[in-house]
Subunit: 205 residues, 3 copies
Amino acid sequence: MRFRFTPVDTTFYDLFAKSASILVDGARLFAEMLAADADRTASARLMKDAEHRADEATHEIIRRVNSTFVTPFDREDIYRLAAGLDDVMDYMEAAVDSIVLYELDQLPEGLEQQVEVLQRAAALTAEAMPRLRTMRDLEEYWIEVNRLENLGDQIHRQMLAKLFSGAYDALTVLKVKDVIELVELAVDAFEKVANTVEQIAVKES
Amino acid sequence: MRFRFTPVDTTFYDLFAKSASILVDGARLFAEMLAADADRTASARLMKDAEHRADEATHEIIRRVNSTFVTPFDREDIYRLAAGLDDVMDYMEAAVDSIVLYELDQLPEGLEQQVEVLQRAAALTAEAMPRLRTMRDLEEYWIEVNRLENLGDQIHRQMLAKLFSGAYDALTVLKVKDVIELVELAVDAFEKVANTVEQIAVKES
Amino acid sequence: MRFRFTPVDTTFYDLFAKSASILVDGARLFAEMLAADADRTASARLMKDAEHRADEATHEIIRRVNSTFVTPFDREDIYRLAAGLDDVMDYMEAAVDSIVLYELDQLPEGLEQQVEVLQRAAALTAEAMPRLRTMRDLEEYWIEVNRLENLGDQIHRQMLAKLFSGAYDALTVLKVKDVIELVELAVDAFEKVANTVEQIAVKES
């Protein structure tokens, strides 16, 4: 680890932790929405609120980059990390909104498992953010998120195979495909965040 | 603002302004194509020409980065901004081409409004490019483009909901979905350009 | 060309060459799978193996960036190039897997030609990687890959037009569209690799 003699604004770690904690909320809201008796429209509204909070958290990070002389790591990496966390939320919100928008009655088998992947990735990400301060013990985080992304990819392909098995009409296929692809994009976005953290750690080590 | 004592090649501002002005042309061509009596094949051809001009403008920027010793901002940011402007054109051209390719007779309600969003984003971008010289008064530009992207997202979702309402056959849904997604990607690409400008301004301020 | 007085770890060139050679394998496997008498499930398995080898090659590059003091070019560019090569393989593998997953009996006319584009782009990329050492004679490579991407785009649009001509049922359209879009993404990913090489060459020249 590099020694630093310049005082560094450490608020960034808190801001990233906050941003990731909103993803934990979002993934939980998504999971709750899948319950048989859930009020989906209400869930979508709560999700939209979470997305707004994520947007604000992102802008707070950008504003602070703007007004801070010495940042704990490259400005561009701070920007990329903030944008990456924001992307996860955007995809989760879009997935939830699509379910309501398309009035999907039957959700595909496998979706619950995929949203569990999102919840685990969100938890790992939220736990990792404070470790950016020391840049220690981050490797297990990005390895595990990469493993989750592989798992998510498998679940996604199984859902696609079932969807195209001939049991569903074309419009249903189109709607469900849209939803599960947005979920897959959210899983991928978690992996991109982990890759960004890996890059930062590589540079700073 | 930073004082600069090294002579800086200022041609870049003109090149970015030129590149953005081609997007204004492209968005206008798209709007004209939606008129009831438009010759769509002719519009698609003009759009293809505009895309070629955009390609040339992009390559001119890359060549100049290559041959210039002191650039007004990071080489990588110049590259990213040029590529971002190019992306907008690629998506607009692909959308227009798809309408012709799929022989879409009926265009979805909402598309006109969405192309208006493109026209406004293009105008804002073209007006902002010369302000890169002083890095002043850029904030209103990126805030407004972000607002337009939110509006575009809403219009897009309304079009999707209507498309999946059951009133259209599956092939029509597929074709229209392809077109409106390309338009949505063009709107997103404008936002990415604005985000790049924000990043550049943050670094240089 | 810049003179370098610091000993530079040159293993990177070998690692990039290795990574690109796996893409040559992958594109060949894809082409073989399209033969009338091919065992597609076996091809998909070989492709999955190739993807694993590509993953390992990528991680080897990242690990070496991590443990090397002086890299031949920017760490971030090494990372981006490695990730770009990896993306090509991911899309090719996903395309091959989709063909098996969807049990597609009839493959669209034009796909063979598009896989030839992949094979040519892979060959060009593999030949270019060792030239990163001297940064010489790279321009023809990225120009040619850009040309191939334009060709691939045309082939893709022709396949789309045929697909939507009304001769196929909606489920078939959806399946085939998925496959050819993954192939198109693989072609695009080759272009992104070429653009990254161009950026590196611009910086280092």
